[in-house]
């Protein structure tokens, strides 16, 4: 995915990507966000996730580590936080050519639903989305872009990544063992 350089708007560490999505929607940001997991133990932690927005509504998602776009890239992004998130603003015109990449598109509500785990935020995002984006992609739930190359939902793509899930489990186990001593159970 090629994007023009935007103007840095905010750069911070968040524990939950939902907060970033809510903030971007509130401020109707046009531009992009770069998500970088702080968890370097996980394989996909090496890559960065990029999500573009028009007026606060997500348009494209791409993951640099796996080179996947659209709903599967949301699954790649779903590693345990915290994330370092940088938000950049752009003029809508600068995003036009990037936004032609149909294979990187996600339904408007899907990031809030699948990454943020917040159906209410997904609903608000869909309400803020222009009609043509909703009609082009159904109501924005589990459906993938129209070309059918990625009709697997982001959740299923996540569940198909056995290696990543094993890494999440291993990390939790080692955390649990460390904390057992700290908490003096």
């Amino acid at each position: 995915m090629k994007l023009p350089h935007g103007r840095l708007d905010k750069s911070r560490v968040v524990t939950d990507p939902r907060d970033t999505l809510a903030d971007v929607l509130d401020r109707e940001l046009t531009g992009y966000a770069v998500f970088e997991s702080q968890e370097t133990l996980l394989l996909d932690g090496e890559g960065r996730g990029v999500m573009t927005f028009t007026d606060g509504v997500p348009v494209l998602v791409y993951h640099t580590g796996t080179d996947r776009g659209g709903p599967p890239a949301l699954a790649d992004l779903a590693v345990p936080g915290p994330y370092h998130v940088s938000l950049y603003t752009l003029d809508a015109a600068d995003l036009e050519s990037a936004h032609e990449a149909a294979d990187l598109r996600v339904p408007p509500g899907m990031p809030a639903e699948r990454l943020g785990g917040d159906p209410a935020l997904a609903d608000s995002t869909r309400r803020a989305a222009p009609d043509e984006r909703l009609s082009a992609m159904g109501d924005g739930d589990a459906t993938a872009p129209d070309d059918g190359t990625a009709d697997q939902s982001a959740v299923e793509a996540f569940l198909d990544d056995a290696e990543k899930i094993e890494a999440i489990k291993q990390q939790a186990r080692s955390e649990a063992r460390e904390r057992a001593q700290e908490w003096d159970f």
Binding site: D16, R18, L74, A75, A78, P80, E113, R114, L115, G116, G117, D118, P119, D139, D141, A142, T143, S153, A154, V155, E156, F158, L159, D160, A162, I165, I168, K169, A172, R173, E175, A176, R177, R179, A180, Q181, W183, D184, F185
Partner: protein, 255 residues
């Protein structure tokens, strides 16, 4: 016989309390069930069970200001131990007394359900999972909920607590739940007990301060909870040493 289940989820908002009460009511057809609000920092069981006026709660018991019997209430065929919502109550409560509470309750019931905090970030939030024999993991079919559910399972099994099963909650029609639950089961040590549809009835019940199974017993969500309870095989615990068991519930020595 007693078996203690922690009803747990890594994330808030999955409908854990609604699920705890609904499972409890469904199980109460066959068993004597006690439901405890072990989410002592963000209690809300009392609002689900019509106990918002309860004078004595788990907070008082954990502060050593009341015996556990004073904080038990018979509601909807269940024995309910609600927790208070005040910050002072939380501050004065000694979470370690939860062991004694569970041990005391275990002497006189078949099943204890612990409504557990939706977090793993403190000793208090993890203790119910440590005390339980098994956990029921409440999930939504979303990446963060499943990923947090996996963490809950790994904490539980590290602390020698088994997994009884998964409960998918607030499932929307558009979500291909069969595929998702089948794939999810590959990574969990327990089966899917049920997939409970998102339900306007559940919201109404919560607003009315009544359990879902009392408010709309015939609705689809209530039916799913009964199916979950049906597929939960309760293990015979050793009644005689129940008290000992919970008083000495500790992390396995292999750690």
């Amino acid at each position: 016989m007693v078996e203690v289940f922690a009803v747990a989820s890594g994330k808030g908002g999955t409908g854990k309390t609604t699920s705890t009460v609904a499972l409890g009511m469904a199980l109460s057809d066959r068993y004597d069930v006690t439901v405890v609000d072990a989410d002592t920092g963000m209690a809300n069981l009392l609002f689900h069970a019509g106990l918002s006026d309860a004078e004595t709660t788990l907070h008082d018991v954990l502060a050593d200001e009341a015996p556990v019997e004073a904080a038990t209430y018979d509601r909807f065929g269940l024995t309910v131990v609600p927790c208070g919502t005040s910050l002072d109550g939380f501050r004065d409560a000694d979470p370690d007394r939860l062991r004694d509470v569970v041990a005391a309750l275990a002497e006189d019931t078949d099943i204890i359900l612990l409504d557990s905090p939706p977090a793993l970030d403190s000793r208090t939030s993890v203790l119910p999972i440590v005390l339980a024999d098994r956990i029921v993991v409440v999930l939504q079919p979303t990446i963060p909920a499943i990923s947090d559910g996996l963490k809950v399972q790994e904490y539980a099994t590290t602390y020698d607590t088994d997994v009884a099963g998964l409960l998918f909650n607030k499932v929307r029609e558009s979500e291909s739940i069969e595929q998702v639950s089948e794939k999810t089961e590959r990574y969990f040590d327990g089966p899917t007990l049920a997939a409970v549809p998102e339900s306007e009835r559940a919201r109404e019940a919560r607003r009315a301060g009544r359990p879902l199974l009392a408010h709309a017993p015939e609705c689809e969500a209530a039916t799913a909870y009964r199916a979950a309870a049906e597929s939960l095989t309760v293990r015979d615990g050793a009644a005689a040493d129940a008290a000992d068991r919970f008083q000495s519930a500790v992390i396995p020595e292999s750690l």
